[in-house]
């Protein structure tokens, strides 16, 4: 790791002010992506600004319409939250199969979403549930947030402060876990909104990161059941192909994981 200077601001404003002073800085949350990348010398921020201890960025609230998770809330705290379990159990399930226990103690929802790894789990939930990302300067619709591999609508100095998930009528998540990395070889989040809209998002599959799956949405809109997807064929065009699985394999996984997710959603 190259040399860097560590900062622990006490507030969001203080963190943003530090970034303004150090344009080559990076924000640090759980650190389970940034620190490994710094160790490989693929990132060399002059300064790291730690957001994980900022109190106004930690916590979970549920209203009758939405589950709001503040950005520096750890995966572990999400899995333990009675409010989250009651509001959107699929989010708690997704979190419980993310990484391993030591990762879940440190990783944060804001860090995962800001990083937008093409095989990360939360982007699928954000897109399928039509969540809103709140930052220190604005609100960004989930539909506009993810912009391809590791890129998002965020400005370099912008800080995600919370994510607001509308509470759906039904939601479920299923993924084929890579057995070593526990990332999604393909994961699918299915949701039916309270107004009856069906939204389905797949992660780990597309070369451009998380994506909606219109063919599955249309089939589930007509008939919300795993069986309704039996005849659906997903194209392998634009899907990832690597040593872990071909594009065709992932195309089939999208269907199978969607079926499992529908069964989980009930």
């Amino acid at each position: 790791m190259y040399e860097t200077t560590y900062h622990r601001p006490a507030s969001i404003d203080e963190a943003a002010a530090l970034f303004a002073k150090h344009p080559e800085a990076k924000y640090l949350a759980g650190g389970h992506t940034l620190i490994p990348v710094m160790k490989q010398r693929l990132a060399a921020p002059s300064d790291v600004i730690d957001l994980a201890k900022i109190k106004e960025m930690i916590g979970i609230e549920a209203t009758s319409d939405a589950l709001i998770i503040k950005a520096a809330t750890t995966y572990y705290d999400i899995t333990q939250s009675a409010a989250a379990k009651k509001a959107i159990p699929a989010i708690v399930y997704l979190t419980s199969v993310l990484g391993d226990p030591a990762v879940r103690y440190r990783g944060t929802i804001g860090g995962s979403i800001a990083n937008n790894d093409p095989a990360a789990d939360y982007p699928a939930a954000v897109l399928a549930l039509g969540a809103t990302i709140k930052t220190n300067t604005r609100e960004i619709k989930g539909d506009d947030f993810f912009q391809g591999l590791f890129s998002t609508a965020l400005e370099d100095n912008e800080i995600i402060t919370s994510v607001s998930f509308p509470i759906p009528a039904k939601a479920g998540y299923a993924k084929m876990r890579h057995p070593a990395s526990r990332f999604a070889l393909t994961g699918v989040f299915v949701a039916q909104t309270k107004s009856g809209e069906v939204r389905v998002a797949a992660t780990g599959a597309s070369q451009n990161g998380v994506m909606r799956v219109p063919a599955i949405e249309a089939a589930l809109k007509a008939n919300w059941s795993a069986g309704a997807l039996d005849g659906v064929k997903i194209s392998a065009d634009g899907l990832m192909s690597d040593i872990h699985g071909s594009a065709e394999y992932r195309a089939n996984l999208i269907k199978v994981m969607a079926q499992r997710a529908v069964e989980a959603a009930g």
Binding site: M1, T5, G31, I35, D100, P101
Partner: protein, 161 residues
């Protein structure tokens, strides 16, 4: 350079180190606590796991600044004098290790697992919960046996206290 203050295995520690210092390096190189191992160095194998404020986390993926003021327990800090921690004793009695490289991380994770699943610990849960710790010798069978055995011993030890 920054000065960090920690409590490590019950003792106050103050160290002035570069900001890029990882906790595992502070433990091994500055404090000579070499029981904590570096395995993969890519945050996947769990050999470096220690307890920070009671939670089992990867010390190779933690900058010392992130835990300034924290309470750290390493494998060296869990026995009471000559008396092994029940988890250590169970690993010994069940042949829960072969080369021993992963063992400190396994034991620190396993204690955390038992603490979190006091009453509902079964084999499947242990296997799931240990997925952040990689062992290349044992095939995990005796490790799982050790953790289940220790869970019973820890309950007895707690009741006695």
């Amino acid at each position: 350079m920054s000065t960090v203050k920690l409590t490590v295995n019950g003792k106050s520690v103050s160290a002035t180190v570069e900001d890029r210092t990882l906790l595992v390096h502070l433990l091994r190189e500055n404090l000579n606590l070499t029981g904590t191992h570096v395995g993969c160095d890519t945050s996947q194998c769990g050999a470096c796991i220690v307890h920070i404020d009671g939670k089992a986390v990867k010390s190779c993926t933690t900058l010392v600044g992130q835990i300034d003021g924290a309470n750290v327990t390493t494998i060296e800090g869990i026995a009471k004098g000559d008396q092994l921690h029940p988890m250590q004793a169970a690993f010994r009695d069940n042949h829960g290790l072969q080369c021993g490289y992963c063992t400190p991380g396994m034991i620190m994770s396993a204690i955390d697992i038992v603490n979190r699943h006091a009453s509902d610990l079964d084999e499947e849960t242990v296997r799931q919960e240990l997925e952040g710790n990689i062992c290349r010798c044992t095939g995990y069978h005796n490790i799982v046996k050790s953790v289940l055995d220790a869970a019973g011993r820890m309950k007895v030890a707690q009741a006695a206290e």
